[in-house]
């Protein structure tokens, strides 16, 4: 065989078929498919010889090619209908695949241009903003007189402490998971809210509850806990005239 086999470079059967048609400088039509069918089959045979796992897709396409060829050999098959025979589905698919490939080439060109252009990333913005802030208020060095060595030591110490305390907390569990900051559960939060309610005896504001939360997760948990408590009529909620939302212990 005179053609070069580049086994790994084909993305799939369509890619291979397209390559064969291009290599033989044929147009995409039924006749070309007949012409390259033999080469396609030889290619698959070669793959088998080399003990390559042939993906089922290659076999499916081979069967399609053989079917086309067989049909063309049947006498009288084409005369049944007037006018030119309809294009086989495979031809249509191959034509479309050709369009995809040409588009891919254009996208590649665009990508190539794009790769040479650079933009300011989000990081640089933060940097600039920090400088602006520094300029506005005279800089005060909170670490004045502290050596870098001491700082590193302190950091290392606190890191170890944190690690130890985290380990203690999860001792019962087999594995240590790092969930970042600890978040209280809805149940815990519900209890917390009830405690505050009994302590405050009167109303306390929703804003206070949310403001006391350390992060977004905790805010969400607190909100869910609140809804749960309202549902169970453990607490009551009302809105004051100045739009404050007030929480009060419900009558059980």
């Amino acid at each position: 065989m005179s053609y070069q086999v580049r086994l790994d470079s084909f993305e799939g059967p369509m890619d291979l078929l397209f390559h064969l048609i291009e290599e033989n400088q044929l147009d995409i039509n039924e006749i070309s498919l007949h012409k390259v069918a033999q080469q396609y089959l030889e290619y698959i045979e070669k793959m088998q010889e080399m003990d390559l796992d042939i993906a089922s897709e290659f076999i499916v396409l081979a069967a399609e090619l053989l079917q086309l060829k067989a049909r063309a050999l049947l006498p009288g098959h084409r005369k049944r209908k007037k006018g030119p025979p309809p294009e086989p589905d495979l031809v249509k698919r191959l034509l479309y695949y050709g369009k995809v490939r040409r588009t891919v080439k254009k996208l590649r060109t665009l990508e190539g241009q794009r790769i040479k252009m650079f933009q300011r990333g989000p990081d640089s913005l933060i940097h600039v903003l920090e400088t602006i802030e520094e300029e506005q208020s005279p800089p005060q060095d909170p670490l004045k007189g502290i050596e870098l060595k001491e700082l590193l030591k302190a950091y290392e110490n606190s890191r170890l402490k944190a690690q130890i305390s985290r380990r203690k907390k999860t001792e019962e569990k087999q594995e240590v998971y790092d969930f970042g900051e600890e978040i209280s559960t809805v149940d815990e939060k519900m209890e917390e809210i009830m405690q505050v309610c009994s302590k405050e005896s009167g109303n306390f504001s929703f804003k206070k509850l949310i403001d006391n939360c350390k992060n977004h997760q905790e805010k969400i948990v607190a909100f869910l806990a609140l809804l749960e408590l309202v549902k169970n009529s453990k607490i009551k909620i009302r809105q004051s005239k100045n739009h404050n939302i007030l929480i009060r212990k419900g009558e059980v």
């Binding site: 993305e11 369509m14 369009k99 241009q113 790769i115 252009m117 300011r120 913005l125």
Partner: protein, 176 residues
């Protein structure tokens, strides 16, 4: 209304800091100017940058927003000085899949596989991970297959202002 500052200079400042494409609406609000005024200022500023060979920057309309980029001629010295994070090109298999999605979205995996004649799972996974495509819904038919579409990052990757700016579709959008 009297302006406190030079609008064109202010616009330049805003665009200079933009970490990602800024929407025109956002610029109008920040500068407290009308859409017409923004267009006018933008046009004049863009012309100054984009057409003047003595400028290394240009103002572009990408993914529905405006951003300042360096002109492509200066990639070499930029790389030399800043060693920017290497942006990987998309592989052939992924790019074929991406092209099909871009022109035919929303589209199911089965349809992509039918066109390419090969499994698309891996390509879809890679494209998802890179944030170039996303799930845009489910097709209402048996199995409710996922429909895929492209993201803003896709537009940014190829420097397109919107999906209609894709290179000559050659009938790629039509049903084959």
């Amino acid at each position: 209304m009297e302006q406190k500052y030079n609008i064109k200079a202010a616009l330049e400042a805003l665009l200079f800091l933009a970490p990602e494409p800024v929407k025109e609406k956002e610029l109008e609000e920040a500068l407290e100017i009308s859409s017409t005024k923004l267009q006018e200022t933008l046009k004049s500023l863009s012309r100054e940058y984009n057409e003047d060979p003595n400028r290394g920057l240009k103002i572009e309309n990408i993914a529905g927003g405006l951003i300042v980029s360096t002109k492509e001629d200066y990639a070499e010295p930029i790389k030399k000085l800043y060693q920017p994070k290497v942006q990987h090109r998309i592989t052939q298999a992924s790019l074929e899949t991406l092209a099909i999605i871009a022109y035919r979205q929303p589209i199911t995996r089965a349809k992509i596989e039918e066109i390419r004649g090969v499994k698309a799972e891996k390509a879809l996974f890679t494209l998802m991970k890179k944030g170039l495509i996303q799930e845009v819904g489910r097709l209402e038919q048996t199995g409710t297959p996922i429909l895929y579409g492209t993201t803003d990052l896709f537009l940014e990757h190829f420097g397109l202002s919107d999906i209609s700016q894709l290179p000559d579709p050659e009938g790629l959008m039509e049903e084959d």
